[in-house]
Symmetry: C2
Subunit: 411 residues, 2 copies
């Protein structure tokens, strides 16, 4: 085998497989979800990947998520729709960690992605593949950030987008969708209500449904969080990863990435314990996990300040639970008060303005440290899924206004 | 010379030199500005750098601005205060470029930095060096984003910060400063009025003045935009760089970086033509450039939607003008209408939600293309200094709100 043969393929995507019933689907035509109702998972020719590339050969590539293109579903490099997303920093949270006697606490700061959240990963890969498959119009419900990301990437791809979001979703997402030229609607309800309206446009107006896990490729973008973490730690995994869980795609994706790395022979260590963090006002996964259930039940009257995880029933709930059980992880809920206190503590101690969803994970770190579930020497990674800049209302400030020429009081 | 000798020093900082009168200062004690009133510039032992490192040896380093540590003023790696800032993507703006018959238009997207703007570069290097020199309390006036960045890095460094900003500055910056624990005041006036109040705290309350160019190291952080650009293009420079100019530190920094690369023997090409972009409501540099003046005059009744460049008189104006004259560049003003139209056009065509200051540069690209100052084949880089997410008010949206169960109108 010569070098040309080895590097010939940009993607080693092979087929799609139902995550529940294992039915196989052709990956090279547009596909939604399985006839059984469950999400489709992209499967790769991992044997060929193993022969094609070694981890060390990835190092010199550009610092964005496309460095893992062999394990992504886009067939041709020229199909890639990108703002340079990925390789977000892994930042030590030394002071916050020390306050809980944890010596190795890190955050992967997804706030430094285009559109300010981790949603850019799913949108970059999802839109690139949709474009490659000839799709021209996409529709989705959103709690705000995913819509903003998909609207932006769709605009870059020259595609039309339709977004429906709850009226209570963070306001900035409206501006992001609108300026990108998206067809945007608010709904007086939750994301499920938005989903019902969006589904109408899919059924009647020729839009392709790109809702969470209703197409197979958003998950592949989210997977790169796991690949990056693994590479950033020197092709090593941490002991624990905490993830704020709404739809759960990031957690499913990280688990999928780890499984693929095992199958590639790259990862031989024990995999990290995965932790799904939810809010006490919307904790269906936590309830299911506590009962060792295979799936969750819809949460009634869901409500939390961490709007991104206000998801009463996730399509991929069973895959999230599989990841928790399979990794020896857990699920935990925190209150809105705990979320806001952690957001503030992280800002004061570490200078990082994180989103409420990320803050939920730091609140969970505190609880799991106090309960002894986390060990002082565990290497712990919190996924901060977005920047606090998108959530101005989480900071209550009263700032004195001075007249010109005033002098400051001593403090 | 063996390898150990070659790599022994993290920084090759040598001394400080006045940018106007060339007076020399010791770099290893805290310094402000020159007795003549002009900014101090960091000077390096570039001969030693030339022996210590080749550009190709920088490639494998982490993708953040500290990869250029030999050319930065922080003596010890352990002094670095960082959120992983730097190596922002250089993104092709193909459709916007094509609409003006420009074939090589790019933007360096500084919105992907911590705190969402390029101010993070100056704050990272400035705070790291301040901490290294034993400074505990810093004060500054700001139009918003610089204050947010310095407050965040100060919190991470365990330093106190005091920030004074105009009441009209973008609101999100208040939340950023407040949550980081900064002592924050608003003033009913412009940045100069904020500066007068901040100066009182410097004179009477033991704060170190970290205002624009009143300490030497913010500039060094900004310089890395030039170094990154140069590396990202394969150690090659573009034909033109456009920069939204308020205090002008980024433009001065890019020019300084290019000069250092020439002295290092790394850069032998012609340097890029540098363009200072201002708003017609505050265009002191443009006026000075048109008159071939050495310095600017304070602009009366300054006002623009691009608040970050609402700076009536910059301390480093003469250095900005030197960079324009020395590079064969120009200065140009655009109206607020042109700024908002460009912001919208970039979002629709490229999917990128840029800040109004960045949009000013795209408006300038349009004008300079129409006037013939830009050639169709010029390789052009616009510095987008921040994310549009921080400026929700620049997008006017009226979004229909639907009831649960509604169906969408056909469109």
């Amino acid at each position: 085998m010569n070098i040309e043969d080895r590097n010939e393929r940009y993607s080693y995507l092979h087929h799609l497989e139902c995550g529940r019933c294992s039915k196989i689907y052709d990956a090279d035509v547009p596909q939604g979800f399985c006839v059984c109702g469950a999400p489709l998972l992209a499967r790769y020719d991992l044997k060929a990947v193993r022969n094609a590339i070694k981890p060390s050969e990835i190092a010199p590539r550009l610092p964005n998520l496309w460095r893992y293109h062999e394990l992504l579903p886009v067939r041709l490099q020229e199909s890639v729709v990108s703002f340079g997303e990925g390789m977000t920093p892994l930042t030590e949270m030394g002071e916050f960690g020390a306050s809980l006697s944890l010596s190795r606490l890190f955050t992967k700061d997804e706030g430094l992605l285009p559109t300010g959240t981790f949603k850019a990963r799913g949108a970059a890969v999802g839109i690139s593949r949709a474009k490659e498959l000839g799709i021209k119009r996409v529709a989705m419900p959103t709690n705000g950030n995913a819509g903003a990301a998909w609207a932006s990437y769709a605009a870059r791809a020259g595609m039309e987008s339709l977004v429906v979001m709850p009226a209570d979703a963070p306001e900035i997402a409206r501006a992001e969708c609108a300026i990108a030229g998206s067809r945007l609607y608010l709904v007086d309800g939750l994301i499920g209500d938005a989903g019902a309206i969006s589904a109408g446009a899919v059924a009647n107006q020729g839009y392709t449904d790109v809702s969470t896990l209703k197409e197979p490729y958003r998950l592949e973008g989210k997977k790169t969080m796991g690949l990056e973490l693994y590479e950033q730690l020197g092709w090593r995994v941490p002991d624990v990863i905490l993830y704020p869980t709404g739809g759960g795609v990031g957690l499913i994706g990280i688990y999928k990435a780890l499984q693929e790395c095992i199958e590639l022979g790259w990862l031989v260590e024990k995999i990290p314990r995965l932790v799904a963090v939810q809010a006490t006002g919307c904790a269906p996964i936590v309830k299911a996990w506590e009962q060792r259930a295979e799936a969750s039940l819809a949460w009634e009257n869901a409500s939390t300040v961490a709007f991104g995880i206000n998801v009463p029933k996730a399509l991929g709930d069973f895959l999230v639970l599989q990841a928790l059980y399979g990794s020896g992880g857990c699920a935990i809920a925190v209150t809105d008060d705990e979320i806001l206190r952690s957001q503030s503590a992280v800002a004061r101690m570490e200078g990082m303005f994180i989103c409420p969803e990320g803050a939920a994970c730091f609140a969970a770190v505190e609880k799991l440290s106090q309960s002894g579930w986390l060990n002082p020497t565990d290497e712990i990674v919190v996924i901060n899924t977005g920047t606090g800049i998108k959530y101005p209302d989480t900071v209550q400030v009263e700032i004195p206004t001075l007249k010109k020429g005033a002098s400051l009081p001593f403090e």
